[in-house]
């Protein structure tokens, strides 16, 4: 039984390697393109948000490549993401793409026993021992964590590099090489190679780049095709980009709180309660940011991020942060976004010269 999963940024690299090592046949859907979105749109309800349409497209493409079973994590709302699985199954079944579903809900929602059972169903075709499974799982999590760290480093370096294009190229080839790697060990070697390469990058230490924080809804943040390659655009303009919302961040905010590990909780002035999605965390990132400017992104109609937008407007007024809101939908109108991003970066550069004297 060939397994598949919808894309979420670089998560497929680690997930595919982990499943391969466990001996579970896996179909990785092709990377998101305009065509993916077209296919997704053809089965999706009009008002569902952008990530749903991409995911539907991924699963259709995977089905055409022979996938028979979908594995997908889910949470208990109240954001729509938690119900994605349910509706994806409905619309895909109806459109003739019937597949088996394994919905990995949070252990809190379905109980640890059921959670383990579902994990067991996922691994029923593997003949790996529990010990090996645990080793592979930690290995892939580690790969994910170090990949996120490395990518963050490269994006930060983009502002200082002599040729900002180098960083963009490096990010692309890093992903390509990881995709081609045979197993976790080989992936580890690739990572080490690139870690060295980052240090060798020619830099201009006198540059004072504009620093930009990219935050907002998680899918549009992680999946570059859903945000019109926002980060690459910024890097090519010579900005230093920071994006705290990545897979490691997701793991820290979703998996950890559902485990019985006590964590420190600080009460916040703006949006102190979790209202669903990651609105609370987005607001926290914006509030605590020290970058020159913030680009807050979301797909059209995202419920939690609408609240976050209202709150960040308040923060902008009171704390003097500079925020650009970008809303993405399936109209892939790149030029309009480009213009706004350029204007924003220009404004930040100018502001820096005028007010801060450098």
């Amino acid at each position: 039984m060939k397994m598949t999963f919808p894309h979420l940024g670089p998560a497929y690299l680690a997930a595919a390697l982990a499943l391969k090592e466990l001996g579970i046949p896996v179909v990785v859907p092709p990377a998101n393109t305009g065509k993916t979105l077209e296919k997704g749109k053809s089965v999706s309800p009009e008002e569902m948000c952008l990530p749903f349409k991409f995911m539907a497209g991924n699963l259709i493409e995977a089905y055409d490549m022979g996938a028979q079973c979908v594995i997908m994590p889910a949470t208990m709302g109240p954001c729509r993401l938690g119900e994605y699985g349910e509706l994806l199954k409905q619309v895909l079944d109806q459109a003739g793409y019937a597949m088996e579903w394994i919905l990995l809900d949070t252990p809190k929602a379905i109980g640890i026993k059921e959670w383990l059972r579902r994990l067991g169903t996922a691994g029923r075709e593997s003949n790996a021992t529990v010990l090996k499974a645990a080793r592979v799982l930690t290995g892939s999590v580690q790969l994910m964590l170090s990949l996120d760290r490395l990518e963050a480093k490269i994006k930060e370096q983009a502002g200082y590099a002599r040729h900002p294009g180098d960083c963009v190229k490096m990010l692309r080839s890093l992903r390509k090489e990881l995709e081609a790697s045979e197993n976790l060990r080989a992936a580890g070697r690739t990572m080490a190679k690139y870690r060295r390469a980052v240090k060798m990058l020619p830099v201009n230490s006198r540059r004072r780049p504009v620093k930009i924080l990219v935050t907002g809804e998680i899918y549009t943040s992680i999946e570059a095709s859903a945000n019109q390659n926002l980060e690459e655009q910024l890097m090519l303009m010579g900005c230093s980009v920071k994006r705290p919302v990545n897979i490691s961040w997701w793991m820290a905010h979703t998996i950890r709180p559902s485990l019985p590990v006590p964590g420190r909780q600080r009460k916040r002035v703006y949006l102190p309660y979790s209202i669903g999605g990651y609105a609370k965390e987005t607001v926290k990132e914006i509030r605590d940011s020290e970058e020159d400017g913030i680009i807050k992104i979301m797909p059209a109609g995202c419920m939690p991020e609408i609240v976050a937008k209202a709150v960040s407007n308040l923060i902008q007024e009171k704390e003097g942060k500079k925020i650009l809101h970008l809303v993405f939908d399936e109209m892939q109108a790149a030029a309009g976004y480009e213009t706004r991003i350029e204007a924003f970066v220009d404004m930040l550069e100018r502001r820096r010269r005028v007010f801060l004297g450098n």
Binding site: P45, E46, E47, M48, C49, A74, M76, G77, P78, C79, R80, G82, E83, G85, E86, L87, K89, Q90, V91, Q94, W101, L103, D105, A109, I110, Y270, L271, Y273, I275, G276, G277, A279, A300, G301, C302, M303, P304, I306, V307, K309, A310, V311, N313, L314, V327
Partner: protein, 299 residues
């Protein structure tokens, strides 16, 4: 101290509780009155653009009260009495409204978990104490309010009309005649009576959900109410389902789709509301729906 209570949003679902709770607390309570064009315009001005119509209406009510009262009560409902959540924009209602410079005046913004009576009482008392209400008054009022919410007969189940449709949707759209442009009155004129989800018991909803072949337990109260009730009412011989939704409603984009797949051939009609309030188009669609019902009964 003058406390304003917006007549919007979940006021319509918890009206008996709110009204009974406000009486005899020893503070002046002012209700914001029915929604009108002015309130909607105020809401449009202060609210974030992407929000849906009910949020804008709510902001308009709060803004109106903020001008005339010392404080505005805007509860933050995290979970309903059956433990489901509603929508991020309801849980963040206070934050949405606060973003338009009324944050100092908002009270009762502690999270309310209606499925846990002790927690609910504690959260309400915390605020009441600050308002200088005596413990005994609070306790009596709280119990009274709970009782009246439980005893009140809510919702509509109209007899005596030729057709009967299930009017699905959200309480703040269904019971606000300004927002839905007198929908119920218009339906009556077309000889259509309505039944709403409040008249379906929780057990019926649950059993409606149980056989729906869902992969996971749904966590939205709107989904349970509308989807469960539709499946329960389907057996009771209703002529159709009319879904009153607001533009860009997040939960409805899911609920409507799931409803469509479980209709068994019953007429289904979605009406979208937005702040443009195009009444002619709305009427035309309604008439088309009435024609559909007529055509089916002739067959």
């Amino acid at each position: 101290m003058r406390v304003g209570v917006p007549k919007a949003y979940f006021y319509y679902a918890y009206k008996p509780f709110v009204e009974s709770f406000c009486q005899g607390l020893g503070i002046q309570v002012e209700f914001s009155g029915d929604t009108d064009q002015e309130i909607l315009e105020r809401g449009n001005r202060v609210c974030v653009d992407e929000a849906c119509l009910p949020v804008k209406v709510m902001c308009g009510h709060v803004k109106k009260l903020a001008d005339s009262c010392d404080a505005v009560a805007l509860p933050r409902i995290m979970r309903t009495e059956f433990g489901e959540s509603i929508c991020p924009k309801v849980a963040g209602a206070a934050d949405l409204a606060a973003a338009s410079e009324m944050d100092k005046k908002l009270i009762f913004t502690e999270p309310l978990y209606l499925d846990d009576r002790k927690k609910l009482e504690k959260a309400l008392w915390k605020q009441c104490k600050k308002l200088g209400i005596r413990r005994l008054d609070f306790k009596v009022n709280f119990l009274n309010a709970l009782l009246s919410q439980e005893m009140a007969e809510r919702g509509l189940d109209e007899e005596g009309y030729r057709y009967k449709v299930f009017l699905a949707g959200h309480c703040y759209n269904i019971y606000d005649p300004f927002v839905n442009m007198d929908l119920i009155e218009k339906l009556h004129r077309m000889d259509i009576g309505v039944v709403t989800e409040e008249r379906v018991t929780r057990q019926e909803k649950d059993s409606g959900l149980a056989y729906a072949d869902l992969m996971k337990k749904p966590y939205w109260s709107f989904f349970v109410n509308n989807f469960g009730s539709m499946r329960a009412l389907r057996k009771k011989g209703i002529d159709g389902v009319l879904y009153l939704s607001s533009f860009s409603c997040g939960t409805d984009s899911f609920t409507v789709e799931m409803l469509k797949k479980n209709l068994n051939g019953m007429p289904f009609f979605v009406l979208k509301l937005d702040e443009q309030r195009g009444e002619a188009g709305f009427d035309t669609r309604l008439e088309a729906f009435a024609e559909l019902l007529k055509g089916r009964s002739r067959q």
